[in-house]
Structure formats: C-alpha cells, structure tokens
Symmetry: C2
Subunit: 261 residues, 2 copies
Amino acid sequence: MREKLYVVGLGPGGLEHMTARARQVLEEAAVVVGYKTYLRHIEDVLEGKRVLASGMTKEIDRAGTAIEAALNGEVTALVSGGDAGIYAMAPVVFELLHDKGIMPGPRGLEVEAVPGVPAVAAAGALLGAPLSHDFACISLSDRLTPWEVIEKRLDAAAGADFVIALYNPKSKGRQWQLGRALQIIAAHRQAQTPVGVVRAAMRPEQELELCTLARAAEAQVDMATIVLVGNSNSFVYRGKMVTPRGYMVKYGTSKEQGQDS
Amino acid sequence: MREKLYVVGLGPGGLEHMTARARQVLEEAAVVVGYKTYLRHIEDVLEGKRVLASGMTKEIDRAGTAIEAALNGEVTALVSGGDAGIYAMAPVVFELLHDKGIMPGPRGLEVEAVPGVPAVAAAGALLGAPLSHDFACISLSDRLTPWEVIEKRLDAAAGADFVIALYNPKSKGRQWQLGRALQIIAAHRQAQTPVGVVRAAMRPEQELELCTLARAAEAQVDMATIVLVGNSNSFVYRGKMVTPRGYMVKYGTSKEQGQDS
C-alpha cells in the first residue's frame, strides 16, 4: 500500500463550505489529525476514525504525528481551517519532511494538499466584494516573524494601495499590534477608508462589523478574526463593502467611484 | 417571493473542488449566468436550467443579465471560476447595483456571495506550500488598471519580501507585461528564487512548471495561468515549492532554512 498523507483545507465554518474533494478525502482517511477547534466543526465525518486532536500552538507536533501515521501505512488527513497552505499546515509538513530528509512523492511519502476556501475569501464574501482588486495578506503574529518585517510589509502594502487582509490581528498575549498596524496603514490612507471586521466567518458565532480606518482599532477582534482594510477606491454601499474593479469608470454611466488605481 | 441573486465561486476545475454550498445554490437556481468556459466544467449541474453564457470580456453584460433575471423573480446564480470576489464577478454586481441605484439587501435585491477556492490557493496546493507566509496577489492586466500602478505594486511587494501571485500574466494582446513584472521583482530578489507556474489548475489540461526567477519569463503562460514567485526564504525540496513559516528555525533541529523574514 502506498503511504499517503492528505493536507486538507476545511474551508470556513463547518461542512457547508468544504469542497467535495476535501470531504471525499476525509471519508477515505483512517486517521484525522488537527487542531481541536477545527475538528469540532466536522464531527459528522469523523465517526469511526482515529482522531488525534491537539492545541493551537502545536503545529509541529500535529505535522509530526500525521507524518508518522501516514508512514505507518494509515491513510492520514491533516486538517486546517480555511486553505491547506495559507498560514496553515501544508508548509509545516514540508518543512518537517525537509528537516528529517523524508522524500515527498511516489518513492517516499505521497503528500497531497487539498485546497480550501481561505478565511480571507470567506470574509470578503460576507462583507460584499472588498477583495476584488490586488490585495495583500499579512499576519500580525510576531511569534515566528520579527515585528520589523511585519511593519515593513504593512507600510509597503499600504503605500502601493493594496487592499490589506490582516490575519491573526490579536491574541491573549498580543494586544498592541493591531493598533500599530492600523497606524502604519493610516499614514497612507484616508481616515474614512472602509474596514471590514469578520469574526468566526460562516460559524454560528459569526460577527461582522463595518467601520472606518479611524475607528478600526476599537473593533472586537481575536485570532479567529480577519480585518480587511479597503484600498483608496473602496466604498460602502448599503452595508456592503466594495472595491471596484473599475468597470463603471471605464464603461459605465457614473464617474463617481473615482479612478481604478 | 424574495428576489435572490447568488454570486458563486466555482473553485478551480470542475465539480470536485466546488463547495457543498456552491453546489446547493446551483441546484436551487433557475437561471445560471457565466462565462462559457467555466460553464463547460459544471455541465452536470446545469440540466433543466436556463443557462446564459457569454464571452470573456463581457463582465458588465453578465452582471447586468444576472441582476435582471433575479429582479424578474427567478433565483439566479452568477458564476465565476475560483472565488466569487477575487478578480471575479461579485464586485461587478455591486458596482452595477451602485451605479443603477438598486439596493442590495432585504428591501432591494438580496445578493449572497458564495466563496470558492481561489486560483491562487489551487496553484499553491499543486506546487507544495509556497503561500504559507504573507503574500500579495497582483493582476498584470492593464485593461482597467494603469500599468504604472501595477508596477508600483510589484515593486512594493517585492521590496517587502511578499510571496507574489501574478494573475492574468499574459493574453493574446498582452505579451510584454510578465517579462517586465519579473524584471521589477528581480531587482529585489535573487535569480535563483523559485517560481511556480500553474496553468489550468485542477482541469484535465493542467500544467505545472517549477523554475527560477531568472528563467520564469520563458515559461508558457496564458490567462488561465497563475505565476507564483517565492519570497527570499522559499525553497524547492524534491519537486515541491515551499515557503517556510519558520517553525524549523525556531523549534527544529536544522538551521539551514535561514531566517523567517
């Protein structure tokens, strides 16, 4: 039997926003490894499987456990919320294989990443259409990345008018980073720039908030929150946050949305 | 009956990478509107529906057709490949509603964006785990965005060491933009930086290519291609493109992957 490890993005929320392929792979797996909060949302497909849950900061343990189970001949699925690769487990698996000299591929351990709907896309859909133009995703967690690097990225993305999606805006131990990040962005963008705050997208406890860059630091955020800062053309229309692609400017009747730049 | 317009991200490829919610919405819809190439991949769920297909550059027509059908009381799904909002149709719908003064929401036209797996996540999964750290998506199409703005974004993203996903790298009428974009990035990044090129992700005609920044201009690309440029720490391990999150540097036994910055 071929040794197989699936690294699966579950998408946001529960089973509804999971792809058919992700579901198929979970059904095929004998072992499912994941962060316990994500596993809670997919309990329905876990019956009869060996389920190995662990805490939030145990990424390397989870990846190691999954690799070990797969090398033992059990079809294994290592799951993340959102996409499998975006601030998620696929890179940890490959880092670990590389570190241990285990080959991915047919002559070593077959690893298949199954993509999922990332948190940023879920947040965008709930807010309206804020992501439609060029955008940058930046994590505010300085656990593994020096804060100076994060600041440089914030400044560059804001200066070049990217829509900016902030991942991991706050945790119990990190309280000041979001305020500082918003200050850096505000040096390049107007105080009235729309900001969308989406907590626990597509889950029962989901919360949405639309505010402005000037007020965004007061928003209720946690590790399960995405903060989306519009670009210089983003606007709010009847409760929906929209970044125009520029069609109306070029082809439409109204010019009031400004330039697509 | 409530007027309802779904704006649906189909994900990459065919039905396999579509979410359960997207499928449910397509089954519920009486009218499906979309670009004909995408509709071809989901023929199985279109039986018995009124299907309105159009050509690639007809975004406003498609959005207008879909809005009209929904306002006529037919449950309508306007579909895009990938996600519904990322270089896709959701913004065009809201731009058009705004332009025409039609209210979204319960007292106007109810619009629900159903997110899908974006092309960038599909490309990432196929290549390994290149997106794991902060990344920027930039479209090289200057049809609606001035080229100077695109150059500014490329320069900013490259200078701040973002992983960069290039959408729409080439079309029949746009041949030089990719080469120029790679030049701008190369001013900040080493010639050996890994670049992944994914054409028609998750479709039968899918093609993958791993190369370096120095050689990427020679890659075969078209409008259905995503070009992923690694950051300064991205590496290739046995055919997989990996951007480390930095766990091995902080917690692992090997230091050879460099700094997570």
